[in-house]
Symmetry: C2
Subunit: 337 residues, 2 copies
C-alpha cells in the first residue's frame, strides 16, 4: 500500500511528520510513504529521522504551501501546493490514501474538488474522534458543512458508523442524533426528518442525544451539523485547557501543592493520556471518493503515525465500499434532492 | 422589594431553598421573600432554617408541583402549580421579581405565557453565565429557542449586554456572535444578517467568535441560537465532569497519588471554585416583561441566595428599562417581521 502525506502541513515544520513516518514504517513492514512537499526542506531531515536510503520512502516535490492563515482563495493561486499534489496522487491512483495536516478547510476543499464525492453522498463530513469515558466517540460533522439537510445528517451517521465499526473496531456502534432533548419530537423540522431517516438506516440508531453524551459513554457516534459540531469541539477543547491552566496556576501558588502534584504525577499523566488526541489518528473526511485523514497542524510524531495507521486501516478494511453498500440499502440517499 | 421563589423546584426538597432565603435575608435587610409551594412541606422547615417568626417571609400555598420529568403538557393539567403561582405574583405586581428552580422548560413556558414579552422582543432567551478565565461570560440563548432568526439573535445580544453591564457590573461588555470562524463572511445567511444587525446595535460588538472564546476571556457575552447554546453547555459540563471522574479514579489507584492529592487539596478547591456555578446566581430569562431568574434543580443554598441577589439587582438597576431603551435606539427590532 502507498500512503501520501503532506509533509509541509505542520506548525513545527516537516520534522514531526518525518519522525511519525519513521515510527509508522517501523510497525508496518510493507507500505510505502510518499512525502509531498518542498524537496529542499524535506531531504536534509532524512538523515536525522533515519529515513535516508529507506526505499519505502518517496519524495514528491511541491514548490508551494498552503499556510494555516491562508484563505480558501489561496487554493486557486497555489496550484502547485503540497496539499493539491497529495490529492492528485490519490486521484491518479499512485497513492491509496492520503494524510493532510494543517489548514483543515483548505484540505477539505482541495480533497472534495479533487476526489469528488462517493455515490449517494452529497457532502463529505469531518468525523472527529473525541475522548469519552468508554474510549472514543466519533462526531460527524465537525465543521465541513453548515446548513446540513436531513439527507446529509443521515449520510454523516451511516458513514461514521462504518468508520467506527471497520476502522476503530467498535461492535455495532451506537449512533445518536445531537438534539436539545431525547424525545423524538424535539428540535427543528430538519432534525425530525433526519431522525426518521436515521431510524430506518442500516445502523444501530439510538435516537436523540445531548451534547454531554459525546463524553459520557452513551454513544459511539454523534451526528450533527458542522456548525454545532464546530462550536462543541472548540468549546470542549477550551474547557479542558482552561481547567488545566487554572489548576496549574493554583498548584504553583504553594510549595505544598507543588509537592502534592509531584506525588500525584502518574494520576495527572493518566488524565492527560485520556484527553490525548494523538492516539486517535486524526479525523477522516468521510464521503469523498478516496481515503483522506485530516490531522492537526500541531500533530506530534505519534499523532502522525496514528493518522497513517487509520488511513491504512480505512483502505485495508475497504471502508468506502462498506459505506456505499450501507447507503445502497436505503436508496433515498442516492437521490439528489 | 418583594421576591417570589418557587420553593418546590429543588431536587432535594425545599430545605436548600429556605436555607438560601435565610442567607439572602441576612444580607439584604429590607426585602421580603414570598415562598411559593405546598404549605405543609414548607412550614415544618421554617424552624430548622430559622425563618419562623420572620415577618419578611411570606408563604403562598400552591397545591401542585411541576416535576423535573413532567412534559410541557403538564402545565395545562397543573394550573395550581407553584411555578404558575410565582409567575402570577409577578404579573399582578405582588412580587417585583421571581426565581424559578427545577424544570427549566416549564419555567420558561409558564413565564412567557404569563408575563409576555417586552416590547421589541419576540423571543426571550436563557442567558447562562459560564465561568471564563477572566470571570464570567453570558451565553444567550442557552436553549429556550431553536431556529432563531437574525432579529432574535440581535435581541439576545442587546439584552445580554444590558444584563452583563447593569447586573454583573461589566464595563462596556464585549459581545461576540458564535460562528465557525472570525471573518464577517462566515456562516449561514442568518448569521451574516445577524452580524449586520449587531454591528449597528448600541453595544460593544466585537464580531464573530468561536466556541472556545466563551471560556478564554475574549468576550463577556456570546450570542447564539438555543440549539447550539444547549449543545455547548451540555458538552462543556460533561467535559468538566468527565475530567474530574478520570482524575479522581486515577488518584485513587495509588496511595502516593492519594497523598499527593491531599497535599494539593487547596489547588483542587480553587479549580472547583472557578468552575462553580453557585456564585453566578442562575440564568435570567431575558426578554419577558418582568424579572425571572432560573436556577438549577440541584441548586444549593448559596446558589439560591445568589439567584435572589441577581433578581434583586435586575429590579434595582431597572434592567428591563435599559433593554427597552437599547432596543428603541435601533427601531427595526420593534417590527414584527
Amino acid at each position: 500500500m502507498r500512503l501520501a502525506i503532506d509533509a509541509m502541513g505542520n506548525d513545527n515544520g516537516p520534522y514531526p511528520i518525518l519522525e511519525g513516518v519513521r515510527k509508522y514504517l517501523a510497525r508496518d513492514k510493507k507500505s510505502q510513504i510518499i512525502l509531498v512537499g518542498h524537496e529542499d526542506k524535506i531531504r536534509p531531515l532524512l538523515v536525522e529521522t533515519r529515513l535516508v536510503d529507506n526505499d519505502r520512502v518517496i519524495i514528491r516535490h511541491a514548490p508551494q504551501v498552503i499556510e494555516m492563515e491562508d484563505k480558501l482563495s489561496a487554493l486557486r493561486e497555489k496550484r502547485d501546493s503540497s496539499i493539491a499534489k497529495v490529492v492528485e496522487l490519490v486521484k491518479t491512483g499512485e497513492a491509496d490514501a492520503m494524510v493532510a495536516l494543517g489548514n483543515t478547510m483548505a484540505a477539505v476543499a482541495t480533497t472534495r474538488m479533487g476526489l469528488k464525492h462517493l455515490e449517494g453522498v452529497h457532502r463529505a463530513g469531518i468525523a472527529v474522534p473525541m475522548p469519552s469515558v468508554c474510549g472514543v466517540c466519533i462526531v460527524n460533522d465537525m465543521g465541513a458543512n453548515i446548513n446540513s439537510k436531513p439527507k446529509h445528517l443521515y449520510t454523516y451517521g451511516v458513514m461514521a458508523s462504518s468508520y467506527s465499526h471497520y476502522v476503530l473496531g467498535v461492535d455495532n456502534p451506537r449512533v445518536g442524533l445531537l438534539n436539545v432533548g431525547e424525545e423524538e419530537v424535539k428540535g427543528s423540522d430538519i432534525l425530525k426528518d433526519a431522525f426518521s431517516l436515521l431510524k430506518n438506516a442500516p445502523i444501530n440508531f439510538i435516537g436523540n442525544v445531548e451534547g454531554g453524551d459525546i463524553f459520557n459513554g452513551k454513544c459511539d457516534v454523534v451526528v450533527c451539523d458542522g456548525f454545532v459540531g464546530n462550536a462543541v469541539l472548540k468549546a470542549s477543547e477550551a474547557v479542558a485547557s482552561t481547567m488545566g491552566i487554572i489548576l496549574r496556576n493554583a498548584i504553583k501558588s504553594s510549595w505544598l501543592s507543588m509537592l502534592g502534584a509531584a506525588l500525584a504525577k502518574p494520576a495527572f499523566k493518566q488524565l492527560k493520556q485520556a484527553a490525548n488526541y494523538d492516539q486517535y489518528g486524526g479525523a477522516p473526511l468521510l464521503g469523498v471518493n478516496g481515503v483522506c485523514i485530516i490531522g492537526h497542524g500541531r500533530s506530534n510524531s505519534t499523532a502522525v503515525m496514528n493518522a497513517l495507521r487509520v488511513a491504512h486501516e480505512s483502505v485495508a478494511h475497504r471502508l468506502n465500499e462498506h459505506i456505499h453498500e450501507a447507503l445502497c440499502q436505503t436508496n433515498f440517499a442516492l437521490n439528489d434532492n
